[in-house]
């Protein structure tokens, strides 16, 4: 595949993103940008899960757990108050490293907590380590066993979040500060930052897509696909299937954690509703609608479905819609909506089968 063909979808997507913003601003409907930004962060989770499910062929019903590990770690670190520790040596050294941030709360009292970038790093490290430790045993499992094990992992995270006072129990954590970035940018959900954050989120999604697409078209991607198609054959060809699966699992958990960190700073809060099994199932449903091994399809569906869900289009039938989507896609179009046999020709551009 020539570089042009590989990056043509990226260019198209960038164009669409820009046009969408211009059109929405011209129409005076910039409030749609907020939901599009949130959808973009959810899309990060979906892109990671698409690598794992579509390319490595391993199901995960616990990705909301990794999203939560990212979001909650950053939320805890950036909202905790270290003032009480004052001048102890580790606080001083953290300050010297620029890892601390001071701000004032609602009542003017000073709060000393970790800077968001430090929270981000900690969240990514923690998610990566947990994914590695969890993946080490459970990726030896297959089919139902793997599905249930990941589901169990997701449930444990949910229980911990609900039970531990440090995670705010049922209330979650609010008052998470914005995430300042270089060049005066910041991840911030206030209306004044709407356009800026729309582009920030999309830049992240595009970076993730380029990363994922390159991965899929590399030696690693070919190895992954061979695992998906026949693990024994791949193994006999000298591919260390277990190591590849583990690496993909860790990578996809990092995507999810990053989505969690940024969405938490964007919303200014995170709660247990982000950690439910239904959220994990939702990500799986989106990857399935997108066509399993179809990164662009997954991203497109992540934006579309999350946007509709966030706008409340589905009302009280929100979860039911995702359940129905799962069934219908699996029964009628296991290759995803974009690869319905009848649609194949007109949608050819979107539905190219990935070939290495």
């Amino acid at each position: 595949m020539t570089p042009l063909r590989r990056y043509l979808p990226v260019l198209t997507a960038v164009l669409v993103v820009v046009l969408l913003q211009v059109a929405l601003s011209a129409a005076g409907a910039t409030y749609y940008l907020t939901q599009l930004t949130m959808s973009a962060y959810y899309a990060l989770v979906v892109i990671g899960l698409c690598l794992l499910m579509g390319y490595a062929g391993q199901v995960s019903l616990g990705h909301a757990g990794f999203f939560a590990i990212g979001g909650y770690t950053s939320a805890v670190l950036t909202t905790c108050n270290l003032s009480a520790f004052g001048q102890t040596s580790w606080i001083t050294s953290c300050r010297w490293l620029g890892m601390l941030a001071e701000r004032r709360d609602l009542y003017g009292a000073s709060i000393l907590s970790f800077a968001p970038w430090a929270g981000f790093l900690a969240a990514m490290c923690l998610a990566g380590i947990i994914a590695f430790l969890i993946g080490l045993p459970i990726l030896r499992l297959k089919g139902h066993y793997l599905a249930m094990a990941t589901l169990g992992f997701g449930l444990i995270i949910y229980r911990i979040v609900l039970a531990a006072p440090i995670f705010g129990q049922a209330d979650g954590i609010s008052n998470v500060p914005p995430f300042p970035l270089p060049f005066g940018l910041e991840v911030n959900g206030r209306p004044a930052f709407r356009e800026q954050n729309y582009y920030l989120a999309w830049a992240l999604v595009m970076a993730a897509m380029v990363l994922a697409v390159n991965l899929v078209h590399s030696r690693v991607g070919r190895a992954l696909r061979s695992i998906h198609q026949g693990e024994e054959v791949a193994h006999s060809l000298g591919i260390n299937t277990y190591r590849y699966k583990l690496a993909t699992f860790v990578a996809s958990s990092l995507f999810a954690a990053a989505g969690g960190v940024f969405l938490t700073h964007y919303n200014g809060s995170i709660g247990p509703s982000e950690v439910t099994v239904m959220k994990s199932v939702r990500y799986v449903a989106i990857v399935a609608v997108g066509g399993m091994a179809n990164l662009w399809g997954a991203m497109l569906m992540a934006i579309l479905l999350n946007f509709l869900s966030l706008r409340g289009v589905m009302g009280t039938y929100d979860d039911a819609v995702f359940g129905a989507i799962l069934i219908v896609i699996m029964l009628a179009a296991p290759d995803g909506l974009l690869r319905l046999p009848r649609w194949r020709r007109p949608m050819h551009f979107l539905s190219r089968r990935p070939h290495g």
Partner: protein, 296 residues
């Protein structure tokens, strides 16, 4: 902890354990005929209990429960016909995803029919405060009902699979589908039947346990996780081992409750599940070489 207290916790453990065992047997029945784990297994208990609760408003309790079990059996068959049969050649991953979708649809349907209120069936005998003393422990008579019904279900299923023609046909399908078909067994209907059977016993378990644990539309998923833990603990497909494993998990859970805050109760089964999956995925009671031959 004195002796009476140990008996108390022990009986509570056996009670929940026998419910887990029935959920696990439901998993096994379907797994044996299709090779699929039905993620909607827990929902059958809730459908059964909820229907019985609604019907008991204007029907005598035994009739309401009977109708609820029959209705859930029909729902189980319908689920197989509509959702599973069209995809019977699909990969395991696809079938898992389909049953997950079914469980969500059923749960959402129940939410819209019965809202999110916690309900329960009346106690079969006595009231919520009547007790029976056993070895110094005081337990609700409903506990005896749960134990008796579980015992009847397990015995009934064992006899069914061993001595009836249909039961034997189902076992034949589990052993070798092709050979069963060559013997003239209608394998497709055996699959439907397995869904009906596992829905029916699930509904019965849901009804019996409803006065003790109460029933809410979203209680199916945790039950399914525990049932699956028990099924794996006993070795997938092995129903008698599932009974032993169910009692074991129930006792373990109660032991945790007696020592730690109630919040950790849920975590016990998940930790057990992960440990078993990692160290002994073929179950506690299986011999390694047999399961190796099976999976080959």
């Amino acid at each position: 902890m004195d002796f009476a207290q140990i008996v108390q916790y022990g009986l509570a453990g056996i009670t929940v354990g026998s419910v887990y065992a029935i959920v696990a047997i439901g998993f096994n029945i379907i797994y044996n005929t299709t090779g699929v784990i039905n993620f909607a297994q827990g929902e059958f208990l809730i459908i059964g209990a909820m229907t019985a609760i609604s019907l008991s408003g204007f029907l005598p309790l035994p009739v309401a429960i009977l109708l609820a079990v029959l209705l859930t059996t029909a729902v189980g068959g319908l689920i197989e016909l509509v959702f599973i049969r069209p995809a019977r050649d699909a990969s395991v991953l696809r079938l898992i995803v389909i049953t997950i979708g079914v469980s969500i649809l059923v749960r959402e349907a129940m939410l819209h029919i019965w809202d999110e209120k916690v309900r329960s069936l009346p106690y079969f005998t006595g009231t919520s405060v009547s007790t029976v003393s056993i070895l110094g422990a005081h337990i609700s008579p409903q506990v005896l009902w749960v134990l008796a019904v579980s015992a009847v279900v397990v015995t009934g299923l064992t006899l069914f699979f061993r001595y009836t023609r249909v039961g034997r046909a189902m076992r034949a399908c589990a052993d070798d589908r092709m050979a069963a078909r060559l013997c003239g067994i209608n394998e497709r209907w055996m699959v439907t039947l397995s869904f009906m059977l596992s829905a029916g016993i699930g509904a019965l378990a849901g009804c019996v346990v409803s006065p003790v644990t109460q029933t809410q539309y979203d209680m199916g998923a945790p039950l399914a996780i525990k049932g699956f833990t028990v099924a794996v603990l006993g070795g997938l497909g092995n129903s008698l081992a599932a009974v032993a494993a169910g009692l074991l998990l129930g006792l373990l859970e109660q032991a945790t409750v007696s020592q730690f805050p109630n919040a950790y109760k849920e975590a016990v089964s998940i930790v057990v599940l992960l440990l078993v999956l990692v160290f002994r995925p073929s179950g506690l009671f299986s011999r390694g070489e047999i399961s190796a031959l099976r999976s080959a």
